[in-house]
Symmetry: C2
Subunit: 332 residues, 2 copies
């Protein structure tokens, strides 16, 4: 199959850029120093590629992601780095032999873990992002309760998501250090061997975490592309130009709001200016307008919620489609 045969809109991944991203990260964070986050790609085939390069486990943000990885026959230690109030499905997977760590940050989520049959947890610690996570000074007490209830408390996690949008490396480094001081304090109180944190934005700047939960590095997006990171833009949205208006100087491609997320703003098109998006359209202008039928590539602003709109990813070597992977971990 050639790329020209693909129906559009479609997610296309450059195999060489993907390989570059996977191997650069595997060298920077060998073995268990990396616990790749599958939420960026929601694709068990790609999770296998990540695990082949060293990691012993994966990070997930939904029960469905854990469930889907197990269903795909993937062996590894899955960290659900999120709070849940019904851990029944996770408990069933544990009973079936899956290795699952669950984040807890409150009495309620601890109770849910116990009631659901989960046996291993990490304490999710608030390190500055106004989201989930127990206050660092309270983590030790909750860990004590968890151990008393018979759970295996493997350590802590803390997501410093408030630093990942800082485009200046120095700022990101300083903010990471501040956040990780909080996590280190909690880790000392909680015990266990795991200190899980980090992201693509600071995978090389976080020196406290024993493992980094990076996800976006596999594909990258225009937001991360503005930082000095050693990863390449591997994923694009392939679209077809379906209408051109030379008088008003614009063209229209058949990829819109249902093909990409907009929380980081408009997508980018090389050499073009994006005007606006509709449900199934992107209107854009460029010095030399394309003609109807031309194929173009858009770079989305935010990769994770973009991939979640698609049910498959096409892997390209040049113009050849060498593989098509289902985005099988979508939904909840």
């Amino acid at each position: 199959v050639k790329v020209t045969d693909l129906a559009t809109p479609a997610l296309v991944v450059d195999a060489a850029a993907l390989e570059h991203n996977l191997s650069v990260m595997a060298e920077a964070l060998p073995g268990t120093r990396l616990r790749p986050h599958v939420k960026a790609h929601k694709c068990s085939e790609l999770a296998k590629e990540q695990l082949r390069r060293g990691p012993a486990g994966l990070t997930c943000s939904t029960i469905r992601e854990v469930d889907g990885l197990v269903a795909a026959g993937i062996k590894g230690e899955f960290l659900l780095a999120n709070e849940v109030l019904d851990a029944t499905r996770l408990g069933e997977l544990v009973a079936g032999g899956a290795s699952i760590l669950l984040a807890v940050d409150s009495e309620e989520t601890l109770t849910a873990a116990i009631d659901g049959g989960v046996r291993q947890i990490v304490l999710d610690v608030n390190v500055g992002l106004p989201r989930c996570g127990i206050a660092p000074q309270k983590a030790g007490a909750l860990a004590y309760k968890a151990r008393k209830a018979g759970l295996d408390v493997r350590g802590v996690m803390g997501y410093e998501g408030h630093v990942t949008a800082m485009e200046v490396t120095k700022d990101r480094q300083a903010a990471t250090a501040t956040a990780m001081e909080l996590l280190a304090t909690a880790a000392a109180d909680v015990g266990g061997e795991i200190i899980s944190a980090g992201a693509t934005a600071n995978f090389h700047l976080n020196t406290v975490a024993t493992e980094i939960q990076a996800g976006s590095y596999v594909f990258m997006d225009s937001a991360y592309g503005r930082m000095d990171l050693p990863f390449r833009q591997a994923l694009h949205i392939l679209a077809t130009v379906i209408s051109v208006n030379p008088r008003q100087g614009y063209a229209v491609a058949d990829a819109g709001l249902k093909a990409m997320a907009m929380d980081h703003g408009n997508p980018e098109i090389d050499g073009s200016k994006v005007w606006f998006l509709s449900d199934e359209h992107t209107t854009f202008s460029s010095e030399e307008l394309p003609v109807v039928g031309d194929r173009i590539r858009l770079t989305p602003g935010h990769i994770d919620p973009t991939v979640a709109y698609h049910d498959r990813i096409h892997i390209l070597e040049g113009d050849r489609v060498v593989d098509t992977w289902p985005v099988d971990l979508r939904g909840w």
Copy 2:
């Protein structure tokens, strides 16, 4: 099943509000005056409810929507109100007995219609929105070519999408009138009985169109909710509070960027202030914070790309889930 049994995040629809919206629209635009747009809900069960109330046809924005409606056994005349460069799948459906009208706005899309085996078209006319559509004064010539090639030219369509965000009714009315003057001119040149246009925003203000392509009225969203429209907010995103931080005064619900579209901004939560969204979280504050485990409802800013993230819609009568409909028309 009770609503409390639903896993979150989930799309929930109040049956009474939906019934209100369907019947108000059916009374305002009886019979073929309405050609409901399925892109708002992508759900063939709901399309059936719309057709039961009078319309003879439906509007679609993707080949997949047309395909899915036919696969669901729905009889009706389907207008694909969008340009395509490969009409093969549509032609196969036509050969199988489906009644399909396809929009064309250029030589290329006309050729695609002919090559694909589509037999009935409408001319898509640009009425002011910088998107698809042929210039009004050129529509007649393209219609002539189409008829010469043996196609049945049923009329024109023109989407005045640039007026749908105008919150003041008078402005919307005036801009609609200007746009429809252009469409009426083209209609006179093109011939045929169909003048298809309009949206939920101006279903009652567009007096030129023979049929209105309204979609959002079934569910509504916070953007349309700010206009003086007779429809009720029928759809919400049900979420669970998974973490609360009383010291910093916020709570976190388990519905985020992958559960709703952000192109119209943050969702709304009654009595609360939304801080920000992450992939799977919404952080918000309110005078009285909820407790972990509470269920809340979010109103998305833009309904169409929100529904496209979900694979089912739950219909509620009070606290009872009376039906669950697959969102079966997603993808392309």
